[in-house]
């Protein structure tokens, strides 16, 4: 490919995109130089993924233009993007699990109708690539049998095999262990040396500082800053990202912890394949305190939360709720709720609500068999309606229409309704996962205030979040999880983002990269 010096490998001008009412990209200008790693950061919902999906031809922009090495291109579908030298490693890998690595690599770029020649050619090519980039992968292994980090390398190989000059990595570290992430960062360095333009999409500031040359910050669909990484700091980036001073200072007094409400002892949780995801975890949550669990997504927090709630079974250890051993008593989610264990799940739309139901039907989810909502054999419609109206008023859910389908509410209002439902049940322990994921700024503050108020009312709150600042702002004590283990505990007064970041990486006292 012939390149004029100084001309960016990829340039976007005025990209605009709407999904219905959501203005996902607002006149975005963006450019990346060849031979550089360019960070793209922003909170969830800032429009990063939409922008990258437009570059990859997965979505079409409503307005704007795209230039590659200074030439205007029309990327209307992924194959056009591939032809233009764009490769993308999606957050969820686009691999066929029961295919071999080799088969995955040639899919879509086969040479001729018969496979044998394509496979042979790819094998040679991949050997070269493996040598150039230090990307060793077993070519004949089934993808499903490979660790996640290796699967990611397969994705990168796929892009390189297709001749990608511009490589987009969407949240590549979300699923990686720290060691795997370190390897990835080395690889990014080699890609830069080979003159590739790498776009590194993430919402983790430390990674941006560690590997990028320049960084673009997005907020609410628009680019708010573009700077050289060397000339900025974590704090500055973070402020730009959220558009206000970081470390949201949630108004709260000191915690006054009482008796232990939730006591977890040596808890182990295995996934369907029998792999331990939570490895012998022990901790307590006392009345009147918020305990935060920090960690990179995928380090066992989700499994821990679901095991506590009774959604997945634990394989070892005990969970005591006010002294009652939930595991030994074999209490399911329903019984645990009955004992005062409420749960705001991490993935609201998948688990916490039924999108097709009305608000009032959602307001009784999990509590539908309570006497309060039933009259004899029938559901008490008056009580259900009144209960929903009360919750909507108390938690400022808008619009306050109990008949409205839940899917028609904004993320923040959905979450407020879920929170209202769980807190209104007057639990002694509340489990909260990612309380502000996909929630607008206004609702975030409201939700945070509710959690603090619950704490002050003497309830025990266990908060799981991948948003460090949320943990720092809310929790009274912070536990850090890494690879299924609790690697440390910090009182919130002593916690800093840097300190927690190191612990989340699983290494005490030394950083990586």
């Amino acid at each position: 490919m012939n390149r004029a010096p100084g001309v960016p490998a990829l340039e976007l001008r005025g990209i605009d995109k709407r999904f219905g009412a959501v203005h996902a990209n607002r006149g975005v200008d963006f450019s990346v130089a060849a031979g550089s790693v360019h960070g793209l950061i922003g909170e969830n919902g800032a429009g990063k993924s939409t922008l990258m999906n437009i570059v990859y031809g997965f979505h079409r922009a409503d307005a704007g233009e795209m230039l590659i090495h200074g030439r205007r291109v029309d990327i209307h579908a992924p194959h056009a993007a591939i032809a233009a030298g764009i490769g993308m490693v999606h957050q969820h890998f686009m691999l066929v699990e029961n295919f071999t690595v080799l088969e995955n690599v040639i899919l879509g770029v086969e040479r001729g109708a018969r496979l044998a020649a394509s496979l042979a050619h790819a094998r040679e090519e991949l050997k070269k690539l493996a040598h150039d980039y230090g990307l060793e992968v077993p070519l004949d292994a089934m993808v499903s049998e490979l660790p996640v980090g290796v699967q990611q390398r397969v994705e990168i190989l796929k892009a390189l095999y297709r001749g990608a000059e511009i490589l987009i990595l969407d949240e590549p570290t979300a699923v990686l262990t720290p060691q795997e992430a370190a390897q990835l960062f080395q690889l990014l360095g080699r890609l830069r040396e080979q003159g590739k333009a790498v776009i590194f999409v993430t919402h983790k500031l430390r990674e941006i500082m560690a590997v990028t040359d320049r960084v673009t910050v997005m907020r609410q669909g628009a680019v708010v800053a573009e700077v050289a990484t060397a000339e900025t700091s974590v704090r500055e980036l973070a402020e730009k990202m959220v558009g206000r001073a970081v470390l949201l200072q949630v108004e709260k007094g000191p915690a006054q912890p009482g008796a232990a409400r939730l006591a977890v002892q040596d808890l182990e949780v295995r996934d369907r394949r029998g792999v331990a995801r939570v490895k012998g975890v022990s901790f307590e949550v006392r009345a009147g305190e918020i305990v935060g669990i920090a960690g990179v997504a995928g380090n066992g927090q989700s499994e821990l939360l679901e095991a506590l709630a009774g959604i997945v079974a634990s394989s070892r250890g005990e969970i005591r709720l006010n002294g009652c051993d939930l595991v030994r008593e074999e209490l399911d989610a329903r019984a645990r709720r009955g004992l005062g264990l409420a749960h705001v799940p991490e993935d609201r739309l998948r688990m916490g609500v039924v999108a097709a139901f009305s608000a009032q039907a959602n307001a009784i989810l999990g509590y539908h068999d309570r006497p309060a909502y039933n009259r004899g054999l029938l559901l008490d419609r008056t009580a259900i309606l009144a209960g929903c109206e009360k919750k909507m008023a108390g938690y400022d859910v808008r619009p306050p229409d109990p008949e409205l389908r839940l899917a028609s509410f904004s993320g923040g209002n959905q979450q407020k309704l879920v929170l209202a439902r769980e807190i209104d049940a007057d639990p002694s322990v509340l489990l909260v996962g990612q309380p502000t994921r996909g929630v607008d700024i206004g609702a975030i503050e409201f939700i945070h205030r509710q959690l603090v108020a619950l704490r002050d009312a003497g309830k025990a709150v266990l908060l799981v979040s991948v948003e460090l600042e949320e943990i720092l702002g809310l929790a009274d004590r912070i536990l850090v999880m890494n690879c299924g283990e609790i690697v440390g505990e910090v009182a919130s007064a002593d916690a800093t983002e840097e300190k927690l970041g190191l612990m989340m990486a699983g290494v005490r006292g030394e950083g990586h990269a």
């Binding site: 219905g20 959604i311 989610a333 998948r350 039924v354 097709a356 989810l365 389908r405």
Partner: protein
């Protein structure tokens, strides 16, 4: 972005099915035209055949009864997120239960036989639905495939029983002996005569009222009870169900038992109400028509009743049509059934988006968004 455009509730439940039905009927008319007959004349003949006389109405409602039972069966399973293609087999085995009670307890008075016959029908249907349900719930076997297989297994079992066991001695055709007079559903004209109304003798019988009762029961159960709520949650989102402490396997089994029981009641109308014996293939495809009825009726009991009347009218009007139009036979009804399933089920999205635009043009003032 999404293909499922939103319609206001009244349009989703009323207008869209009507538009889909209209499309199916127009295409049916085209086929009649191709056959060389006038679609208008056919429509007139069919309406007259279905509603033109007491006899016509009686027969129409008699067919309707079958379709209400099977339509409800499909609808209940649908709300639990399950596609029950096995209503045919469940009706077959349920009918066996009803038939056996009628054969064995024929000497008992009607008031004793009647509840047992209902119970046996429901149990038979539920039992035949149980195995696919259990396999889906516990072993993850695709219920669509297993219920299809169970239709064939029911058919094989019943053929065996009728040919080798239940056959009336000295009889060639595989059917049981006739039920005794105690074990027969009171006919509508007899019941009406008791209150002084004269009605032509038709196969319409007490089972029709049972079907209406069943619809009312399903309506209350699905929308007004905590069990129905749990069933709908599990049908919409198994993950949300688990979160809420609802156990999807239990819902799968419970919903299929209810579904099978409803289908199993078909024998009350067909055998106990009309044929008065067990015979080969008495469900006659009503289990499959149930799919059309449920789709057309949007899985709402009232909708199921209305759709069942429509299909009852088609069945009755269709046989009238085949008498009067030499080039059209009863199979035309089956074609129309297929077209209704096609347009109300598989192609429902085709008209949704245009309809949403039209509705939006006239101002969006529906109940729900």
């Amino acid at each position: 972005m999404s293909a499922t455009a939103k319609l206001p509730r009244w349009a989703e439940l009323g207008l869209l099915p009507l538009v889909n039905l209209l499309a199916a009927l127009v295409l049916s008319g085209v086929i009649v035209k191709i056959l060389g007959e006038s679609p208008w004349a056919a429509l007139k003949l069919m309406s007259a055949g279905a509603f033109g006389s007491q006899e016509a109405v009686g027969y129409t409602l008699y067919y309707t009864t079958n379709f209400i039972f099977t339509g409800l069966a499909v609808a209940v399973a649908y709300h639990a997120g399950l596609f029950n293609i096995g209503a045919e087999g469940q009706a077959y085995i349920g009918g066996l239960g009803t038939g056996l009670v009628c054969l064995w307890l024929g000497a008992w008075p009607f008031w004793a036989v009647f509840p047992l016959a209902v119970l046996a029908g429901a149990l038979g249907g539920a039992a035949w639905a149980f195995i696919p349900a259990w396999l889906q719930a516990r072993r993850g076997s695709h219920i669509v495939i297993t219920t299809i297989m169970f239709n064939f297994l029911a058919s094989a079992l019943m053929t065996y029983l009728l040919v080798n066991v239940l056959i009336r001695p000295g009889q060639q055709s595989p059917e049981s002996r006739e039920f005794s007079a105690h074990a027969v559903m009171p006919a509508a004209h007899e019941l009406l005569a008791k209150v002084g109304v004269t009605f032509t003798a038709t196969p319409l019988n007490l089972a029709f009222l049972l079907a209406l009762l069943a619809a009312a029961f399903v309506s209350v159960f699905i929308w007004r009870t905590r069990w129905g709520y749990a069933l709908r949650v599990a049908g919409q989102s198994p993950d949300a169900a688990v979160y809420a402490g609802i156990l999807p396997p239990r819902i799968i089994i419970g919903a299929m038992l209810l579904s099978g029981a409803l289908a199993g009641c078909l024998g009350l109308n067909e055998l106990m109400g009309s044929q008065h014996r067990i015979l080969i293939d008495f469900p006659g495809g009503a289990g499959f028509v149930g799919i059309a009825v449920a789709l057309m009726g949007r899985n709402r009991p009232l909708g199921v009743i209305l759709a069942a009347v429509l299909f009852g009218a088609l069945a009755q009007g269709g046989s009238q049509l085949s008498f009067d139009m030499p080039k059209v036979n009863r199979d035309m009804v089956v074609v129309i059934q297929g077209l209704v399933i096609l347009f109300c089920g598989a192609l429902e999205n085709v008209f949704r988006a245009p309809l949403a635009r039209v509705v939006a043009m006239f101002g969006n003032r529906g109940g729900e968004e």
